[in-house]
């Protein structure tokens, strides 16, 4: 029964990891940018949520209505300025620039918010409650909600990419940005929209992390970026639904590792990550799920 429990918990945690990962995957799939500041931007989103909740007293669960658009705008602006100018100098430059952005964000947060941890909505029933299956399995409502949010976010992204005008342009630019230019599309603008979408999902991931665990300025690179990266690689680079699959595999591996020995939780996840990287470097879903 303990193993069944581990698998159930792992699968549900996969939803949270997919929220971390899908933005990273989208930015890599469309503009070939590995955004090393991805996790830190999620932490920024979490701090924005904390600030907004404290200042305006909006209900915790509805804070995303403000944070998601704010992060989307930030994504567009970041892409059109910092990241695009790095891209113009070569894809490798984006690694250096996003690493620099990551360091600036992390140290900026340390400076202004100290290293103290903060949670989002720690008193909420949703954050604390769970239900039981049988006598031994306790499932946190929060993880169920995250899983549902992840599926909804992926469905929304997929619908946007396959049905909307800009979604079509995003896929076209990802295929061949020069040919898209010849069709009249300004790929920089299209990149900006893709980055806005990516950071909208980052906002969800950051808020979710703040409710699930505690936010601190280093959580971005220590946890969120690493787990997002593992989920993306396991699931397949540039694949959207692959991030959910990758998140689930990572989550299950961690829970099974913890079942064997509580200190092996993270190790087990990263061993699976390495095994996939060696045996199936294209990820579990080789198909690009952009359409």
């Amino acid at each position: 029964m303990a193993w069944v429990n581990a698998i159930i918990q792992g699968v549900l945690t996969g939803g949270l990891y997919a929220l971390f990962a899908c933005g990273l995957s989208l930015m890599f799939g469309v503009m070939k940018v590995v955004n090393l500041a991805h996790g830190d931007l999620a932490v920024v989103a979490g701090y924005i949520a904390i600030g907004i909740i404290a200042a305006t007293h909006v209900p915790v669960l509805w804070s995303f209505l403000i944070v998601v658009p704010v992060m989307a705008v930030l994504g567009y602006v970041l892409q059109r300025t910092l990241i695009q100018s790095a891209l113009d100098r070569g894809v490798l430059t984006t690694l250096v620039v996003t690493l620099g952005l990551s360091l600036v964000i992390e140290n900026g947060l340390l400076q202004f918010f100290t290293a103290n941890t903060r949670g989002i909505g720690t008193g909420l029933a949703l954050v604390q409650d769970s239900f039981s299956i049988g006598s031994q399995i306790q499932v946190a409502w929060l993880l169920v909600v995250f899983f549902a949010v992840a599926v909804a976010a992926l469905l929304g992204l997929q619908y946007f990419l396959s049905r909307s005008r800009y979604g079509r342009l995003i896929r076209a630019v990802a295929d061949d940005k020069e040919a898209a230019q010849l069709a009249g599309a300004d790929y920089r603008h299209v990149f900006g929209i893709a980055a806005a979408l990516a950071l909208a999902t980052v906002a969800l991931g950051g808020i979710a992390y703040g409710m699930y665990s505690d936010l601190d300025p280093t959580a971005g690179t220590d946890t969120i970026l690493l787990f997002a990266f593992a989920a993306v690689v396991i699931g397949g680079l540039g694949s959207l639904w692959g991030t959910l699959l990758g998140g689930i595999v990572l989550g299950v591996a961690q829970q099974i590792g913890a079942q064997i020995n509580i200190s092996d939780e993270l190790l087990a996840g990263f061993i699976v990550f390495l095994v996939v990287l060696v045996l199936r470097p294209q990820g579990l879903t080789s198909r690009r799920a952009q359409s």
Partner: protein
């Protein structure tokens, strides 16, 4: 930019300048629709084009011919805005567009079908056309349905990925994707590349139908006989320089051969009295 907009109408509205490939007097007075002035282009240290000029008048089919590496594709890509010239300028309807990005030029009516087709591989046939139509110049005659009418097989297979199409079918989609943008000048870069001769014939066979909507075409072609068949004006490039320019009817096969392979001195010396030396610049 609207002075010649009427020219985009159906064939009947073209006026006296729409001679097409059949011949007639070249309308070399007035403002050319597309003009290239003394274009110099470098690829790094390497000079790809050396002072190339050309004037394309409305309704013309202007063909650039030349061997591999002559600079044909570079010329077309520079006109489309994908390369920045070191010197010289590109004018559309008398307006300098040299500083415009490719996407701006496309919206003003300079639309290129790139070499190697360059379709969006993860998109369906129809989605490829929809991308082409996203920033279409208003007021033109081309729609996705009009493209389906020209290439009738396309309608039934519009939901297929372009990877499942044959080379010739992909080329047709690439042409369709450019047409739905309602170009004023259609740039065709090596339509015949990698295609069977019979397929090339079929694609070029569509050209009159396309021209009938008032389009002007500037094409690059390695297949010289194909280019001579469809063009109303040709220019031959060799190592980035113009070696021959004229109407297909006015040039002999020997002249073309000489210009193509760079046998200029022997060819012109062997035929001093033919009276067509004026075709040779310099």
């Amino acid at each position: 930019m609207t002075g010649l907009a009427g020219g985009a109408g159906p064939a009947g509205g073209k006026g006296p300048i729409g001679d097409g490939p059949a011949g007639g007097v070249r309308p070399d007075s007035g403002v050319p629709l597309l003009e290239v002035r003394d274009l110099v282009v470098h690829h790094g240290q390497l000079q790809a084009l050396d002072a190339i000029s050309l004037r394309v008048f409305p309704g013309e089919v202007y063909a650039i011919i030349g061997a591999n590496g002559a600079g044909k594709s570079t010329l077309l890509r520079t006109i489309a805005g994908l390369h920045q010239p070191t010197e010289g300028s590109v004018l559309l309807d008398g307006n300098d567009v040299t500083q415009l990005r490719p996407e701006r030029r496309a919206r003003h009516g300079i639309v290129m079908v790139p070499e190697g087709r360059r379709l969006f591989g993860s998109l369906s046939v129809e989605e490829n056309l929809q991308v082409g139509a996203t920033y279409a110049r208003p007021g033109g005659t081309w729609t996705i349905d009009a493209v389906y009418d020209v290439f009738d097989w396309m309608r039934a297979r519009r939901h297929q990925r372009t990877g499942q199409l044959s080379g010739g079918e992909q080329q047709a989609v690439a042409v369709g994707r450019a047409l739905v943008a309602n170009p004023r000048v259609l740039l065709l870069d090596e339509l015949s590349l990698g295609l069977a001769p019979v397929v090339v014939q079929r694609i070029y066979g569509m050209l009159p139908q396309i021209l009938a909507t008032g389009l002007t075409v500037l094409l690059v072609e390695q297949d010289v006989s194909q280019a001579l068949r469809v063009a109303s004006q040709i220019q031959c490039l060799l190592e980035g320089r113009t070696t021959l320019e004229g109407r297909p009817a006015d040039v002999t096969a020997e002249q073309v051969e000489a210009a193509y392979f760079g046998l200029a001195s022997t060819a012109s010396a062997g035929r001093p009295g033919e009276g067509s030396d004026s075709l040779w610049p310099g």
